[in-house]
């Protein structure tokens, strides 16, 4: 990892260079370039159809880029997808737990497919359940949990195998701001331990929690900086307005 440092000596977790995905005539992601550093919380914003999901899928090794290059935790997205998969965690907007399995079974299943040993699994699932305060609930079906808890559990499961980077695809859809705030406490804890967080979101209050954010418009990155500096740059008071100024120039239909 030592050779993946930028000029300021920060370790680079994700590096994308002119990453492009084209479907026929349609360019879903157009030459996007950025770097994300270790332990950083990187917000990935954009209206529906702006190309967020496409970009994220390329970074996760789910789809092959049409051109450009990218490394995830130092591994190449073309050639080393298997290594990438071992080093990343992923949580989708649908929070992706099995409703008909208990909390404990979900933890063991996801830990299991990442190849954690029996001993590790026992230890980690006990620690996780204790940390979330779910001791009494461990053998209840996930279906019986409130949405906020499901999301916290899904995040904890996504980082169970100690990935270097976690991709969160609109992780807090449908929950109230208070629960969202609690969810972000978990994200901060993970970031403090050196996990890089790559998060897409619609919520501008969430955007403010990120260290840096990028805003995608029509497949390209239209802005990239800290929330504070972006607000200065656009001369506005809130992220909402920054986003609105950029998004209204979009030509692609909202979809």
């Amino acid at each position: 990892m030592e050779n993946h440092k930028n000029g300021r000596g920060e370790e680079v977790s994700i590096r994308a260079d002119k990453l492009t995905k084209q479907y026929g005539d349609f360019i879903a992601a157009n030459a996007i370039s950025f770097e994300v550093y270790k332990g950083e919380i990187f917000g990935f914003l954009g209206a529906n159809g702006a190309g967020k999901t496409t970009a994220m899928r390329m970074l996760c090794g789910l789809s092959t880029p049409s051109s450009g290059s990218a490394t995830i935790a130092g591994f190449d997205v073309y050639k080393e997808t298997e290594e990438i998969k071992k080093n990343i965690g992923y949580m989708s907007q649908k929070f992706s737990l099995y409703e008909d399995l208990t909390i404990l079974e979900n933890i063991r299943f996801y830990g299991g497919i990442y190849g954690l040993s029996r001993g590790e699994l026992r230890e980690k699932s006990a620690a996780l359940i204790a940390r979330l305060g779910l001791q009494g609930e461990a053998n209840k079906l996930v279906a019986s949990l409130p949405l906020g808890w499901k999301q916290k559990l899904a995040f904890s499961v996504a980082v169970l195998h100690q990935p270097r980077i976690v991709f969160l695809d609109e992780p807090t859809g449908g929950v109230d701001p208070v629960t969202r705030r609690q969810f972000w406490d978990l994200i901060y804890q993970a970031a403090d331990q050196g996990v890089t967080i790559f998060v897409t979101t619609h919520y501008m209050d969430e955007a403010e929690y990120c260290n840096r954010i990028s805003i995608m418009v029509d497949g390209s990155i239209a802005a990239l900086d800290t929330p504070h500096r972006l607000k200065q740059q656009f001369g506005v008071a809130s992220m909402d307005e920054v986003f609105y100024q950029l998004a209204r120039e979009a030509k692609r239909a909202d979809g």
Partner: protein, 368 residues
């Protein structure tokens, strides 16, 4: 490997916790067998019978009286000979006939053995079998009454002739048919739905992002259904042997091996559907309309293929259930060995490999 077992364990949780589906899964074959086995073999009551009594002696009269007294038969009319019996049969109202030869009681008294002929209209084989069985047991009854105080027993030997359908085609053909139907339903629909469900709930994405190989995701989905289907094959066979008295005439291991092959064909089909569809409803509709219906129509189980127009006969060849149905019939009913079914087996293997190849290809396209 532990990853793989973790996955299979999870699949079993899914299946075993879904009580409703489980009930359908294991209840369906039982219900189908019982419906086909009993609802279709209606109990025989007051069936019309014609009797040709060429003997007109004491014994034949006694037997006729006994038949008349039973609640199973109602004597339609008495005719003189065999030709007249067939004429009555052709009218269609009478399904069974009894013929006493001219020297019936003479044979019985002097040789201690006499023949009677039972004729049945076997166009409905189940019905015909039931009627001849009832008739034989009445003769049996009379014979044992006759022999109560007899040193040398008299024997009345019924010679049964099934007219119009001597091999009783269709009699127990429904058991292989039900097997094909149930396996088709369980394997195709259940696998398709269970994979599409993961797509719908978003868990499939998480699985694809994990280091667990996509092909293994699909495989571990198929294995629980393979096991459940074998349980279904077992329960159908047990029911047919012990409840329907339909023995397995051929080799059981061969039958199980061929069933496993057909299950794999169906699983591959289910996987293919799941790759091509995005919602559980679509997957279910395609499985039902696209698989179940052709299976019923073209497997030869309900409608004989040889009576179909040529284009439909050609179409029937691509229905895997047709070949499985032929195989099971040959093993179970005719008691034939592998040398009789290797061609059908080869065709099934071919269909399976073809489906597997196109599934794998479209799965890879989807990932890219």
């Amino acid at each position: 490997m532990t990853q793989f077992t973790t996955f299979i364990k999870k699949e079993f949780y899914h299946v075993l916790r879904d009580r409703k589906t489980l009930l359908i899964l294991f209840g369906m074959p039982v219900v189908q067998i019982l419906i086909f086995g009993f609802a279709l073999t209606n109990e025989v009551k007051n069936s019309k019978i014609v009797i040709a009594d060429e003997a007109k002696d004491e014994v034949s009269t006694a037997i006729i009286r006994k038949i008349e007294a039973s609640r199973y038969f109602e004597i339609e009319k008495a005719v003189a000979n065999r030709q007249q019996i067939e004429t009555v049969f052709k009218e269609g109202k009478v399904k069974v006939a009894l013929l006493f030869p001219a020297n019936f009681s003479k044979d019985l008294l002097h040789q201690n053995k006499a023949q009677v002929q039972i004729l049945a209209d076997a166009t409905d084989p189940n019905h015909a079998t039931a009627l001849t069985n009832y008739l034989s047991s009445i003769l049996q009854d009379y014979q044992s009454e006759l022999n109560e105080n007899q040193a040398i027993p008299y024997r009345i030997v019924p010679e049964t002739r099934m007219l119009y359908n001597p091999q009783l085609k269709g009699a127990h053909n429904f058991v292989p048919g039900v097997m094909a139907l149930v396996l088709m339903l369980v394997c195709v629909m259940m696998t398709a739905i269970s994979i599409v469900k993961e797509k719908e709930t978003g868990t499939m994405e998480v699985l694809l992002v994990s280091p667990f190989k996509p092909v293994l995701v699909i495989l571990s989905k198929a294995i629980p259904y393979l096991i459940l289907s074998l349980v279904n094959v077992g329960s159908i066979l047990l029911l047919s042997v012990f409840v329907l008295d339909l023995p397995i005439n051929g080799s059981l291991p061969l039958l199980l091996a061929e069933s496993t092959l057909f299950i794999i064909t169906c699983l591959t089909l289910g996987i293919f559907i799941s790759i091509k569809t995005a919602s559980q409803q679509t997957a279910m509709l395609i499985s039902l309309m696209g698989m179940l219906l052709p299976t019923m129509l073209f497997s030869g189980f309900m409608f004989p293929i040889e009576n179909m127009p040529i284009p439909l006969q050609v179409i029937s060849n691509i229905i895997p259930a047709k070949w499985y149905y032929l195989i099971v019939k040959d093993i179970m009913i005719k008691g034939l060995g592998f040398e009789a079914i290797w061609k059908e087996t080869l065709i099934l293997v071919g269909i399976t490999l073809f489906l597997f190849a196109i599934s794998l290809k479209s799965f890879k396209i989807r990932l890219a």
